[in-house]
């Protein structure tokens, strides 16, 4: 019985191909839009998530605050108010897991005949843990390198590509601002940061070496930034409060004085970025869903026309014993077949479109089986929902009136 009805529905669809296709078109556009938008939205979410993971979890940065010099406020990180000792004191606070003091600057780097301008990070071995950064090759420097300010370096993927090409960099000597540094290790690639910087375009050296041999320091032991890792997401508020009062006390600030440092919760900032992409992809999906709705209304429209056109056929079927249920099923099946066929084509187009977007713009796209299954279920539901009214209209016809219809 079902097989026969399926055949009939197929026949009916084939009887007016152009119209069937135009009806499907609404569905095709709707589904491909949904799939494409979801692929792009999820891709964006995925890359934000990756950036957040690459950043390291539960992170604060503490910057030396602005200093007022002859009435002109200088930018953050310019006061010599933050020291290595501040960092050591923060390590003792409850809720804080690790602290890495950081000095940074840009420098020209030379290896053989190649040279490359990159950013230099002077820090302690803890930095790699805090940033959840591992080495691809070689090994890291140690606390004794900090004490003796050895000239060693860990280099990022981009630097390797630009300076070394195919040569193995480990053990080679590079020149940073003319000073020779031995490459100890190569950093694992981290890709782009949330703000779009290439995180692999960097060199990490011991903090002391950076200060003494590369940038100098305004005061001994002053650093531009402390990178602080909290124990857990729950401990973040406690850690932040603890740091604020500790630093105020250490910097001998009186009540009413402004902080001479900034604390920024990077994890919270990252999460709000993730939230933004999530909202954006929801919005994209919602807009695309409207076209599914329009596609569904198109199906209803055509099914209503089809029911009217085939009134006589309905009458004949009823006259030879079709029940209301049989007629209902026939038209519902047709609506579902049109929407599911449209959905299949739409899926293919949407997936193709997503791959094309990825190919042309390099934007990450994620085609989840979930999205595909959802699109499919929605299409079937749209077919049933918008096919229902016309099908019921057909099923409720009075046999003799349907037969008389010209």
């Amino acid at each position: 019985m079902f097989g026969a009805m399926l055949g009939e529905a197929w026949h009916a669809m084939g009887a007016n191909r152009l119209r069937t296709f135009l009806t499907m078109l609404g569905m095709i556009i709707g589904v491909s839009a949904v799939v494409l938008m979801m692929a792009i939205g999820q891709g964006a979410q995925e890359s934000v998530k990756q950036s957040i993971n690459a950043m390291g979890s539960n992170l604060f940065i503490v910057l030396a605050g602005s200093r007022t010099a002859s009435g002109a406020r200088l930018g953050g990180g310019n006061a010599a108010s933050l020291t290595v000792q501040d960092g050591e004191a923060i390590t003792m606070l409850e809720g804080v897991k690790a602290v890495a003091p950081v000095s940074f600057g840009n420098a020209q780097v030379i290896f053989g005949a190649n040279n490359w301008a990159t950013s230099i990070i002077g820090t302690t071995p803890d930095y790699l843990d805090v940033r959840a950064w591992s080495l691809k090759d070689g090994y890291s420097f140690s606390d004794s390198d900090i004490r003796s300010a050895t000239r060693v370096a860990l280099i990022g993927r981009t630097v390797v590509d630009n300076l070394f090409g195919d040569t193995d960099p480990v053990g080679k000597t590079i020149r940073i601002k003319q000073a020779p540094f031995v490459v100890l290790g190569v950093l694992e690639s981290k890709g782009q940061s949330l703000d779009g910087r290439d995180q692999d375009d960097t060199i990490i050296v011991p903090l002391t070496s950076a200060q003494r041999k590369l940038f100098g320091a305004q005061f001994p032991d002053s650093v531009r930034m402390l990178m602080v890792q909290g124990e857990s997401p729950e401990a973040m508020a406690m850690a932040e409060n603890g740091m604020t009062s500790l630093l105020r006390q250490r910097h001998k600030l009186r009540d009413g004085d402004e902080d001479d440092f900034f604390i920024r919760n990077l994890t919270a900032a990252a999460e709000s970025a993730a939230e933004t992409t999530r909202t954006m992809s929801l919005l994209l999906g919602a807009i695309a869903s409207v076209s599914l709705l329009v596609g569904g209304i198109g199906i209803m429209n055509i099914m209503l026309v089809s029911v009217t056109e085939r009134t006589r056929e309905i009458g004949i079927r009823m006259a030879i014993g079709a029940r209301e249920r049989d007629i209902m099923q026939q038209f519902l099946l047709e609506a579902i077949m049109i929407s599911v066929a449209g959905c299949l084509i739409g899926l293919l187009l949407g997936i193709g479109g997503a791959l094309l977007v990825n190919l042309l713009t390099g934007a990450a796209v994620v085609i989840s089986s979930n999205a595909v299954a959802t699109a499919f279920a929605v299409a079937a539901a749209v077919g049933i929902f918008f096919g229902f009214y016309p099908a019921r209209k057909a099923a409720r016809m009075n046999p003799i009136e349907a037969l008389r219809y010209q």
Partner: protein, 240 residues
């Protein structure tokens, strides 16, 4: 005598028109036994088709009682009516009413689809009937590829496929030439020989002469109901 397959009592049918109810059938009473062959005659507009549609459970009377096979039809729901149209009655229309998009075999087999018969049996039985109506060579032809007479044979085959006990035919030869009409009438005579009750509407006296009982409608009432032997002369007398 066995209880009648059809019993109609005080049957009335009004059509709703812009000018109010318009009575088409006025207190019709008739009883038809299983195995009878009845011709219904009467001028155009006398209510024959209206009557047949009610007998065929396609339309409902305004008042009066219709008992089919001991069941009062008014008490049946739409599924039961569909089942009667499917199993008990074979309806043959003046305009054939074949599905234009289905081939001959599928047209004949369609009632079996609604009876829930499986495909193999459907096709076997449709083939047998296709042979019986003399079109065994064209199972895959479409209705528009064959003549009117052939289309009516297909329609009759379709009406027969569920082995109905009653065939209702409303001017089945109205669109056919006299030679083809003769063939169709012979087919009905054969079916009646096999025990199927047949009620046929016709204008033509020579067609009606095939029947064993003639009922004449005039202006929504039955004005004549008698065995066929005495009918032709009277019919000729009336039309003359």
């Amino acid at each position: 005598m066995s209880s009648p397959i059809i019993r109609v009592t005080d049957l009335c049918k009004d059509y709703e028109t812009a000018l109010g109810p318009f009575p088409v059938l006025k207190n019709v009473n008739v009883s038809i036994s299983a195995g009878e062959y009845v011709a219904i005659m009467g001028p155009s507009g006398s209510g024959k088709s209206t009557f047949m549609n009610i007998l065929g459970c396609l339309d409902k009377p305004t008042s009066g009682e219709y008992v089919l096979d001991c069941h009062p039809v008014a008490e049946l729901d739409s599924n039961q009516l569909a089942q009667i149209r499917n199993q008990t009655i074979g309806f043959v229309f003046q305009g054939f009413n074949l599905l234009t998009r289905s081939n001959l075999l599928d047209n004949i087999a369609l009632p079996l689809v609604y009876a829930g018969t499986d495909k193999k049996v459907r096709h076997e039985r449709a083939r047998v009937l296709l042979e019986k109506v003399g079109l065994g060579k064209y199972p895959a032809s479409m209705p528009n590829q064959i003549s009117g007479g052939q289309q009516q044979r297909i329609a009759i085959a379709r009406a027969l496929i569920n082995r109905p006990r009653l065939i209702l035919a409303d001017e089945p030869t109205g669109n056919l030439d006299s030679k083809t009409s003769e063939d169709i009438m012979r087919l009905f005579a054969e079916l009646n020989e096999e025990g199927i009750t047949i009620i046929i509407v016709t204008h033509e006296a020579d067609i009606a002469s095939h029947a064993r009982r003639q009922v004449r409608f005039l202006d929504g009432r039955i004005v004549h109901d008698a065995p066929a032997t005495e009918a032709p002369s009277r019919a000729e007398a009336e039309t003359a």
